[in-house]
Symmetry: C2
Subunit: 187 residues, 2 copies
Protein backbone atom coordinates (compact mmCIF):
# COMPACT_ATOMS: atom_id res chain seq x y z
CA UNK A 1 0.00 0.00 0.00
CA UNK A 2 3.01 2.32 0.27
CA UNK A 3 3.41 4.78 3.09
CA UNK A 4 0.41 6.88 4.05
CA UNK A 5 1.31 10.36 5.16
CA UNK A 6 -1.06 11.34 7.92
CA UNK A 7 -1.64 14.81 9.31
CA UNK A 8 -3.45 15.90 12.44
CA UNK A 9 -6.93 17.35 11.90
CA UNK A 10 -7.42 20.55 13.88
CA UNK A 11 -10.97 21.51 12.93
CA UNK A 12 -14.13 19.74 11.84
CA UNK A 13 -12.90 16.27 12.80
CA UNK A 14 -16.45 15.09 12.07
CA UNK A 15 -15.86 15.33 8.33
CA UNK A 16 -13.73 12.18 8.64
CA UNK A 17 -17.00 10.42 9.56
CA UNK A 18 -19.04 11.77 6.58
CA UNK A 19 -20.65 9.96 4.85
CA UNK A 20 -20.87 7.34 7.58
CA UNK A 21 -18.31 4.58 6.73
CA UNK A 22 -18.09 1.05 8.08
CA UNK A 23 -15.42 1.58 10.72
CA UNK A 24 -12.98 -0.66 12.52
CA UNK A 25 -12.93 -0.10 16.28
CA UNK A 26 -9.65 -0.82 18.06
CA UNK A 27 -9.81 -1.66 21.76
CA UNK A 28 -7.66 -3.01 24.56
CA UNK A 29 -4.01 -2.18 24.84
CA UNK A 30 -1.25 -2.63 22.27
CA UNK A 31 0.89 -4.28 24.95
CA UNK A 32 -1.85 -6.52 26.27
CA UNK A 33 -5.20 -7.88 25.14
CA UNK A 34 -6.35 -6.23 21.91
CA UNK A 35 -9.39 -6.51 19.71
CA UNK A 36 -10.77 -5.18 16.44
CA UNK A 37 -14.40 -5.07 15.43
CA UNK A 38 -16.36 -3.54 12.56
CA UNK A 39 -19.04 -1.00 13.41
CA UNK A 40 -21.27 1.28 11.43
CA UNK A 41 -23.39 2.50 14.36
CA UNK A 42 -20.89 5.28 15.02
CA UNK A 43 -21.41 9.02 14.69
CA UNK A 44 -20.06 12.39 15.73
CA UNK A 45 -22.03 13.94 18.60
CA UNK A 46 -20.24 17.20 19.28
CA UNK A 47 -17.79 19.41 17.43
CA UNK A 48 -16.43 21.38 20.38
CA UNK A 49 -15.26 19.44 22.29
CA UNK A 50 -14.88 16.78 19.60
CA UNK A 51 -16.89 13.71 20.58
CA UNK A 52 -18.12 10.51 18.93
CA UNK A 53 -20.50 7.82 20.04
CA UNK A 54 -20.88 4.18 19.16
CA UNK A 55 -23.49 1.59 20.03
CA UNK A 56 -22.04 -1.71 21.23
CA UNK A 57 -23.53 -5.06 22.14
CA UNK A 58 -23.11 -5.43 25.90
CA UNK A 59 -21.83 -8.96 25.40
CA UNK A 60 -19.11 -7.88 22.99
CA UNK A 61 -15.44 -8.31 23.73
CA UNK A 62 -14.86 -4.73 22.57
CA UNK A 63 -17.17 -3.42 25.30
CA UNK A 64 -15.33 -5.55 27.89
CA UNK A 65 -12.02 -4.03 26.79
CA UNK A 66 -13.30 -0.43 26.60
CA UNK A 67 -14.73 -0.75 30.11
CA UNK A 68 -11.32 -1.88 31.28
CA UNK A 69 -9.08 0.64 29.52
CA UNK A 70 -11.52 3.54 28.96
CA UNK A 71 -9.99 4.09 25.52
CA UNK A 72 -10.70 3.11 21.93
CA UNK A 73 -9.82 4.04 18.36
CA UNK A 74 -12.07 4.58 15.35
CA UNK A 75 -10.34 3.62 12.09
CA UNK A 76 -11.58 4.57 8.61
CA UNK A 77 -10.43 2.30 5.79
CA UNK A 78 -10.74 2.47 2.03
CA UNK A 79 -12.54 0.11 -0.32
CA UNK A 80 -9.62 -2.36 -0.71
CA UNK A 81 -10.18 -3.36 2.92
CA UNK A 82 -13.86 -4.20 2.60
CA UNK A 83 -13.27 -7.96 3.00
CA UNK A 84 -11.17 -7.45 6.10
CA UNK A 85 -13.73 -5.07 7.61
CA UNK A 86 -16.37 -7.75 7.07
CA UNK A 87 -14.04 -10.34 8.58
CA UNK A 88 -13.54 -8.46 11.84
CA UNK A 89 -17.27 -7.70 11.91
CA UNK A 90 -18.44 -11.28 11.60
CA UNK A 91 -16.78 -13.13 14.49
CA UNK A 92 -16.02 -12.46 18.14
CA UNK A 93 -12.67 -11.59 19.61
CA UNK A 94 -13.45 -14.09 22.35
CA UNK A 95 -13.26 -16.95 19.84
CA UNK A 96 -10.44 -15.84 17.59
CA UNK A 97 -7.53 -13.43 17.77
CA UNK A 98 -8.77 -11.09 15.03
CA UNK A 99 -5.74 -8.85 15.27
CA UNK A 100 -3.59 -11.75 14.06
CA UNK A 101 -6.02 -13.54 11.75
CA UNK A 102 -7.37 -10.46 9.95
CA UNK A 103 -3.97 -9.54 8.60
CA UNK A 104 -4.46 -5.91 9.60
CA UNK A 105 -1.14 -4.36 10.57
CA UNK A 106 -1.48 -2.77 14.00
CA UNK A 107 0.44 -0.01 15.68
CA UNK A 108 0.06 1.57 19.07
CA UNK A 109 -2.01 4.76 19.36
CA UNK A 110 -0.03 7.99 19.65
CA UNK A 111 -1.99 9.34 22.63
CA UNK A 112 -3.87 6.24 23.79
CA UNK A 113 -2.53 2.74 24.33
CA UNK A 114 -5.37 1.22 22.28
CA UNK A 115 -4.25 -0.19 18.92
CA UNK A 116 -4.76 1.50 15.56
CA UNK A 117 -4.89 -0.01 12.09
CA UNK A 118 -1.77 1.22 10.31
CA UNK A 119 -3.31 1.41 6.82
CA UNK A 120 -6.30 3.52 7.94
CA UNK A 121 -7.00 6.70 6.01
CA UNK A 122 -8.27 8.29 9.25
CA UNK A 123 -7.81 7.42 12.89
CA UNK A 124 -9.63 8.91 15.86
CA UNK A 125 -8.02 8.20 19.22
CA UNK A 126 -10.65 8.45 21.93
CA UNK A 127 -11.01 8.42 25.69
CA UNK A 128 -14.25 7.35 27.32
CA UNK A 129 -16.50 10.25 28.30
CA UNK A 130 -19.87 8.69 29.17
CA UNK A 131 -21.79 5.48 28.67
CA UNK A 132 -25.55 5.05 28.46
CA UNK A 133 -27.46 1.84 28.95
CA UNK A 134 -29.81 1.19 26.01
CA UNK A 135 -31.04 -2.33 26.81
CA UNK A 136 -29.01 -4.99 24.96
CA UNK A 137 -26.57 -2.36 23.85
CA UNK A 138 -24.57 0.37 25.47
CA UNK A 139 -23.94 3.75 23.94
CA UNK A 140 -20.29 4.68 24.36
CA UNK A 141 -19.41 8.37 24.05
CA UNK A 142 -15.75 9.27 23.68
CA UNK A 143 -13.69 12.43 23.59
CA UNK A 144 -11.61 12.55 20.42
CA UNK A 145 -8.13 13.29 21.74
CA UNK A 146 -6.38 13.06 18.38
CA UNK A 147 -7.61 12.75 14.82
CA UNK A 148 -5.30 11.97 11.93
CA UNK A 149 -6.04 11.64 8.22
CA UNK A 150 -4.33 10.68 4.98
CA UNK A 151 -3.28 14.05 3.63
CA UNK A 152 -3.65 12.98 -0.02
CA UNK A 153 -7.28 11.96 0.27
CA UNK A 154 -8.75 14.57 2.56
CA UNK A 155 -9.38 18.28 2.43
CA UNK A 156 -9.56 20.02 5.84
CA UNK A 157 -12.52 22.10 4.66
CA UNK A 158 -14.49 19.56 2.65
CA UNK A 159 -13.53 16.18 4.05
CA UNK A 160 -12.93 13.13 1.87
CA UNK A 161 -12.01 13.65 -1.73
CA UNK A 162 -14.19 10.91 -3.18
CA UNK A 163 -12.38 11.19 -6.51
CA UNK A 164 -9.23 10.02 -4.75
CA UNK A 165 -10.65 7.45 -2.36
CA UNK A 166 -13.56 5.03 -2.21
CA UNK A 167 -15.04 4.46 1.24
CA UNK A 168 -17.11 1.40 2.17
CA UNK A 169 -20.51 2.01 3.77
CA UNK A 170 -22.44 -0.84 5.34
CA UNK A 171 -25.75 -2.00 3.89
CA UNK A 172 -26.53 -5.36 5.48
CA UNK A 173 -24.50 -8.42 6.55
CA UNK A 174 -22.06 -9.06 3.68
CA UNK A 175 -23.19 -6.12 1.58
CA UNK A 176 -21.38 -2.81 1.26
CA UNK A 177 -21.89 0.21 -0.98
CA UNK A 178 -19.61 3.04 -2.07
CA UNK A 179 -20.47 6.73 -2.53
CA UNK A 180 -19.87 7.79 -6.12
CA UNK A 181 -21.69 10.79 -7.49
CA UNK A 182 -21.49 14.14 -5.73
CA UNK A 183 -23.98 16.97 -5.87
CA UNK A 184 -23.41 20.47 -4.56
CA UNK A 185 -26.68 22.26 -3.85
CA UNK A 186 -26.92 25.70 -5.48
CA UNK A 187 -27.99 28.49 -3.15
Amino acid sequence: MGVILKVVVKDKFYLTLHPRPAYVIGSGSYEGRMNLMAASWVMPVSEEPPRVCLALDKESYTWELIRETEEFTVNVLSEEYTDKIYYVGSRSGRDVDKVKSSGFKMVKGKVVSAPIVEDSIAVLECKLYKTIDCGDTVLVIGDVIRCEVDVKKYNPKYGWNLREVSIPLHLWGRSFTYPCRIKIVKT
Copy 2:
Protein backbone atom coordinates in the same frame (compact mmCIF):
# COMPACT_ATOMS: atom_id res chain seq x y z
CA MET B 1 -44.46 11.98 -7.20
CA GLY B 2 -47.45 9.63 -7.36
CA VAL B 3 -48.69 7.71 -4.40
CA ILE B 4 -46.14 5.89 -2.27
CA LEU B 5 -47.38 2.65 -0.80
CA LYS B 6 -45.87 2.25 2.61
CA VAL B 7 -45.78 -0.88 4.72
CA VAL B 8 -44.90 -1.33 8.36
CA VAL B 9 -41.45 -2.77 9.05
CA LYS B 10 -41.59 -5.53 11.66
CA ASP B 11 -37.93 -6.58 11.88
CA LYS B 12 -34.56 -4.97 11.36
CA PHE B 13 -35.91 -1.41 11.31
CA TYR B 14 -32.27 -0.28 11.36
CA LEU B 15 -31.83 -1.24 7.71
CA THR B 16 -33.88 1.86 6.84
CA LEU B 17 -30.94 3.84 8.26
CA HIS B 18 -28.20 2.03 6.24
CA PRO B 19 -26.12 3.54 4.71
CA ARG B 20 -26.60 6.61 6.85
CA PRO B 21 -28.76 9.11 4.88
CA ALA B 22 -29.24 12.82 5.44
CA TYR B 23 -32.55 12.72 7.32
CA VAL B 24 -35.31 15.19 7.96
CA ILE B 25 -36.38 15.32 11.60
CA GLY B 26 -40.01 16.28 12.28
CA SER B 27 -40.81 17.80 15.67
CA GLY B 28 -43.61 19.58 17.50
CA SER B 29 -47.21 18.73 16.94
CA TYR B 30 -49.14 18.62 13.68
CA GLU B 31 -51.89 20.67 15.33
CA GLY B 32 -49.55 23.21 16.89
CA ARG B 33 -45.98 24.42 16.48
CA MET B 34 -44.07 22.23 14.04
CA ASN B 35 -40.53 22.16 12.72
CA LEU B 36 -38.37 20.29 10.24
CA MET B 37 -34.60 20.08 10.27
CA ALA B 38 -32.00 18.10 8.36
CA ALA B 39 -29.71 15.83 10.36
CA SER B 40 -27.09 13.29 9.51
CA TRP B 41 -25.88 12.68 13.06
CA VAL B 42 -28.51 10.01 13.52
CA MET B 43 -28.02 6.29 14.03
CA PRO B 44 -29.69 3.13 15.28
CA VAL B 45 -28.60 2.18 18.80
CA SER B 46 -30.59 -0.94 19.57
CA GLU B 47 -32.51 -3.52 17.58
CA GLU B 48 -34.67 -4.94 20.36
CA PRO B 49 -36.25 -2.70 21.49
CA PRO B 50 -35.83 -0.58 18.36
CA ARG B 51 -34.08 2.66 19.27
CA VAL B 52 -32.37 5.51 17.46
CA CYS B 53 -30.30 8.43 18.63
CA LEU B 54 -29.60 11.85 17.24
CA ALA B 55 -27.26 14.63 18.29
CA LEU B 56 -28.89 18.05 18.43
CA ASP B 57 -27.61 21.54 19.07
CA LYS B 58 -29.01 22.61 22.46
CA GLU B 59 -30.02 25.95 20.99
CA SER B 60 -32.03 24.36 18.18
CA TYR B 61 -35.75 24.82 17.82
CA THR B 62 -36.08 21.08 17.22
CA TRP B 63 -34.64 20.35 20.67
CA GLU B 64 -37.03 22.87 22.24
CA LEU B 65 -39.97 21.10 20.60
CA ILE B 66 -38.78 17.57 21.39
CA ARG B 67 -38.32 18.55 25.04
CA GLU B 68 -41.91 19.78 25.04
CA THR B 69 -43.65 16.93 23.22
CA GLU B 70 -41.23 14.03 23.89
CA GLU B 71 -41.79 12.83 20.33
CA PHE B 72 -40.13 13.15 16.94
CA THR B 73 -40.05 11.57 13.50
CA VAL B 74 -37.09 10.53 11.34
CA ASN B 75 -37.86 10.83 7.63
CA VAL B 76 -35.76 9.29 4.84
CA LEU B 77 -36.05 10.98 1.45
CA SER B 78 -34.76 10.13 -1.99
CA GLU B 79 -32.32 12.06 -4.17
CA GLU B 80 -34.97 14.34 -5.76
CA TYR B 81 -35.39 16.00 -2.36
CA THR B 82 -31.72 16.86 -1.84
CA ASP B 83 -32.29 20.61 -2.31
CA LYS B 84 -35.15 20.62 0.16
CA ILE B 85 -33.16 18.63 2.70
CA TYR B 86 -30.42 21.22 2.39
CA TYR B 87 -32.99 24.00 2.73
CA VAL B 88 -34.39 22.74 6.04
CA GLY B 89 -30.83 22.09 7.23
CA SER B 90 -29.52 25.58 6.59
CA ARG B 91 -31.86 27.88 8.55
CA SER B 92 -33.57 27.89 11.92
CA GLY B 93 -37.23 27.23 12.57
CA ARG B 94 -37.15 30.20 14.92
CA ASP B 95 -36.56 32.54 11.96
CA VAL B 96 -38.71 30.96 9.30
CA ASP B 97 -41.63 28.56 9.13
CA LYS B 98 -39.77 25.81 7.28
CA VAL B 99 -42.80 23.57 7.13
CA LYS B 100 -44.46 26.14 4.87
CA SER B 101 -41.48 27.53 3.02
CA SER B 102 -39.77 24.20 2.23
CA GLY B 103 -42.72 22.98 0.21
CA PHE B 104 -42.62 19.59 1.95
CA LYS B 105 -46.11 18.17 2.27
CA MET B 106 -46.74 17.25 5.88
CA VAL B 107 -49.10 14.80 7.48
CA LYS B 108 -49.67 13.87 11.09
CA GLY B 109 -47.85 10.85 12.48
CA LYS B 110 -49.90 7.67 12.82
CA VAL B 111 -48.86 6.94 16.42
CA VAL B 112 -47.27 10.25 17.44
CA SER B 113 -48.61 13.75 16.95
CA ALA B 114 -45.30 14.93 15.50
CA PRO B 115 -45.45 15.68 11.76
CA ILE B 116 -44.10 13.42 9.04
CA VAL B 117 -43.02 14.26 5.50
CA GLU B 118 -45.56 12.65 3.21
CA ASP B 119 -43.15 11.86 0.37
CA SER B 120 -40.63 10.07 2.61
CA ILE B 121 -39.52 6.61 1.55
CA ALA B 122 -39.21 5.68 5.23
CA VAL B 123 -40.61 7.20 8.41
CA LEU B 124 -39.68 6.31 11.97
CA GLU B 125 -42.12 7.59 14.59
CA CYS B 126 -40.32 7.91 17.91
CA LYS B 127 -40.98 8.63 21.56
CA LEU B 128 -38.26 10.06 23.75
CA TYR B 129 -36.43 7.45 25.82
CA LYS B 130 -33.38 9.23 27.26
CA THR B 131 -31.30 12.35 26.72
CA ILE B 132 -27.62 12.81 27.46
CA ASP B 133 -25.83 16.10 27.83
CA CYS B 134 -22.76 16.27 25.57
CA GLY B 135 -21.69 19.91 25.99
CA ASP B 136 -23.08 22.12 23.21
CA THR B 137 -25.22 19.26 22.01
CA VAL B 138 -27.64 16.84 23.50
CA LEU B 139 -27.92 13.22 22.51
CA VAL B 140 -31.58 12.30 22.09
CA ILE B 141 -32.44 8.59 22.25
CA GLY B 142 -35.87 7.55 21.07
CA ASP B 143 -37.93 4.38 21.02
CA VAL B 144 -39.08 3.62 17.48
CA ILE B 145 -42.81 3.04 17.94
CA ARG B 146 -43.59 2.62 14.26
CA CYS B 147 -41.45 2.28 11.15
CA GLU B 148 -42.89 2.46 7.67
CA VAL B 149 -41.17 2.13 4.28
CA ASP B 150 -41.92 2.44 0.60
CA VAL B 151 -42.65 -1.14 -0.34
CA LYS B 152 -41.30 -0.76 -3.87
CA LYS B 153 -37.85 0.39 -2.84
CA TYR B 154 -37.13 -1.72 0.21
CA ASN B 155 -36.56 -5.37 0.93
CA PRO B 156 -37.36 -6.45 4.52
CA LYS B 157 -34.26 -8.65 4.57
CA TYR B 158 -31.73 -6.48 2.73
CA GLY B 159 -32.96 -2.93 3.19
CA TRP B 160 -32.86 -0.33 0.40
CA ASN B 161 -32.81 -1.53 -3.15
CA LEU B 162 -30.25 0.93 -4.44
CA ARG B 163 -31.09 0.01 -8.03
CA GLU B 164 -34.57 1.43 -7.41
CA VAL B 165 -33.78 4.42 -5.25
CA SER B 166 -30.96 6.89 -4.77
CA ILE B 167 -30.44 8.11 -1.22
CA PRO B 168 -28.62 11.34 -0.35
CA LEU B 169 -25.79 11.13 2.18
CA HIS B 170 -24.28 14.26 3.65
CA LEU B 171 -20.67 15.21 2.94
CA TRP B 172 -20.27 18.85 4.04
CA GLY B 173 -22.43 22.00 3.96
CA ARG B 174 -24.00 22.02 0.49
CA SER B 175 -22.43 18.77 -0.66
CA PHE B 176 -24.17 15.42 -0.84
CA THR B 177 -23.14 12.06 -2.27
CA TYR B 178 -25.12 9.01 -3.39
CA PRO B 179 -24.27 5.33 -2.92
CA CYS B 180 -23.92 3.60 -6.28
CA ARG B 181 -21.85 0.46 -6.54
CA ILE B 182 -22.62 -2.52 -4.31
CA LYS B 183 -20.24 -5.26 -3.26
CA ILE B 184 -21.23 -8.47 -1.53
CA VAL B 185 -18.32 -10.02 0.34
CA LYS B 186 -17.75 -13.70 -0.48
CA THR B 187 -17.39 -15.99 2.49
